[in-house]
Symmetry: C2
Subunit: 431 residues, 2 copies
Amino acid sequence: MKTLIKNVTVLTVNKDNEIISNADVVIDGQIIAYAGPKKQWQEEFSQVIEGQGNMVMPGFVNAHCHAAMTLFRSYADDLPLMEWLEKKIFPTESRLQGEDVYWGTMLAIAEMLKSGTTTFADMYFFMDDVARAVEESGIRAVLSRGLTSTGNDGGEEGLRENEEFVKNWHGKADGRITAMLGPHAPYTCSVSFLQKVLAVREKLDVPLQIHLAETHDEVEQIQAQYGVSPVKHLKNAGLLESPVLAAHCVHLSTEDMEILQEYDVRIAHNPGSNLKLGSGIAPVPELLQRGVTVGLGTDGAASNNNLDMLEEMRLAALLHKGACLDATVISAEEALAMATRESARAVFLPKTGMISPGKKADLLLIDLQKVHLTPRHNPASLLVYAAQPSDIKMVMVDGKILCRDGELLTMDEEKIIYHAEKRAKHLLAGI
Amino acid sequence: MKTLIKNVTVLTVNKDNEIISNADVVIDGQIIAYAGPKKQWQEEFSQVIEGQGNMVMPGFVNAHCHAAMTLFRSYADDLPLMEWLEKKIFPTESRLQGEDVYWGTMLAIAEMLKSGTTTFADMYFFMDDVARAVEESGIRAVLSRGLTSTGNDGGEEGLRENEEFVKNWHGKADGRITAMLGPHAPYTCSVSFLQKVLAVREKLDVPLQIHLAETHDEVEQIQAQYGVSPVKHLKNAGLLESPVLAAHCVHLSTEDMEILQEYDVRIAHNPGSNLKLGSGIAPVPELLQRGVTVGLGTDGAASNNNLDMLEEMRLAALLHKGACLDATVISAEEALAMATRESARAVFLPKTGMISPGKKADLLLIDLQKVHLTPRHNPASLLVYAAQPSDIKMVMVDGKILCRDGELLTMDEEKIIYHAEKRAKHLLAGI
């Protein structure tokens, strides 16, 4: 299967943020074979896509999500964090079953594909059901089971599940699924449990996903309990010697940032969720200045309430300018890189997130012939500050077209809406 | 002409933020005649719209815009404010002609209608051309010419133009156009010029539009020049005795807020522009607590870079939670009211912005059958935190349908894109 997209503008999002006009892109199987000036091709292609007036860019990589939480979208908003968690989310989550998670994840994947996300990192429960949804839909995902030591068995069962999951699913679905271990957060995992997670990690050689320094309360709690910041606590526990994807990182001291930099910790910045839950504004401009890898995530739809990476990218570009009173921080190009190339690096998938020969063919075709994308002085700026999900004409993952003109080709939207609505109603009945 | 929309959920956005399920809405001419529980209607309707699975809500009121600046969209981003203004925007604006403003405004109106805006407040030049675009398109608008005393003639010519404009256009286009006077800002209008503006205002009895306390620099400059804050300066100049729509109001002291409250100054909050230009974060929760009328605006597309009120509404709901570290400030219902009812009040059009008998029929039909709007626990929350422009099925202004399923019925999109692109290229040639 060889595809040619011709006469297109390419936002490569490579290190030089190169933009190629009048370009051709060739996809050979699952791989981008060519992206450069247009050519007279002698060979035959299985399909040729006319790209005039369109733009090719890497698919978005959502670096932090709890996909199945779409079931709680619009269920409990504008509440204080602890009330939201303890009175609304935790009681409902405790009733979740595998089929709920399956349909919630299907709903999430449908939304993500339609808004241009080609990879997502997930931490949740019933991960076999999540993996099943990923396998069926054709999207790429980095999956971990959320692990805490607060339960009756000190977290043993969850850790065993996560280990089994890694063994069963890492590298499966044509390589579209990679697995991680998911210790939930410093405040839900005891030090001795973290040591057990680390021992399993050594055996399996996969990275870790964790929530870190999300709220001011967390910082205070860890400080009271261990006498250090959450970041330093993880360092002291030996966790940062492993590859780590840390979500949030909102409340950081200068020393924390030095540690994150020294240990090359990968960060998932979630501006929408951090704002909505009143958590705060992460010091992203300073992290970027230090060369820390910062990707972008939506977090779950219960705290966002959508999985639209275009919006997350725009928020990242806007928010820090206002918070720093400086219109030059996080340019459109930087925000675009965070949502694609840097997110790919953050979730340890360096073969994605860029339009470049040899990379995985995870890409989008954007229709620029729209009033809100006129005039076209600067494609990156248009994309970051003005584009909408409905501008996405085509979504390709691993060389396969999964969405065309807003229509999903591997998923049945009506069926997904029906089951998700039914599952959500059932879950919340009597709460 | 009598229209029935049946079996629909109505977000009234009245004072109680009432939501009516299984409702009917009747539009008689330009006016909403009924919005309540569904009925067995005996009378004949000119058109009946099935609303099952859809939601009726008031159209958005964009309380601050410079519509024709769409021509500069994506032209100059991520620059320091003064460099952006002095090196990029002012030199280009000085070359503008009436036809540029006409096509730039047509482009803006097309974008606004497609994203659900039914009224916009504008301050710019060549206002006859702006009014022509408003008249042709069918949108509602509140128009003023931007006035400064920094030119050679101390602003006389502009003021004369604005006066003529009010006389010619106020109440025209079936009442869809209202006019204001537009003294630009405290730092661009001398006190003696403001007095002249006030004298003309007395004669014409229209409100004023002004930019106020947008940046920290402005506050410093006015403080240095007059020894008081910009808000107090306007009070001292006697301006606040008149009805005033003040855009931005980012940098306010407690005394400033007391003055704005005392004089019932109407505020247009522009979170996107304030972030993008690095201006800062307005103290909106405190203004709302004081009962000040705060509407929402996009500002021009050069500093946003889009005119999508859904995004502006979402930003208003998210931003202040994060800045205040409090998830309860500016609920979805409050943000929705700001974008509709309160914006209408801010631009002195209290007959719009609400779905209620006797109000103008400026309304939207939203399609809720989307994956990103599933499940449907709370319509207001879905709309504010998750809806997209492409969810808008129908846009009605003054009882006339102007946009259906994303297609404009009174405007030629292709022609507008062609002319706007051409005008923009021409304007920037050689700069």
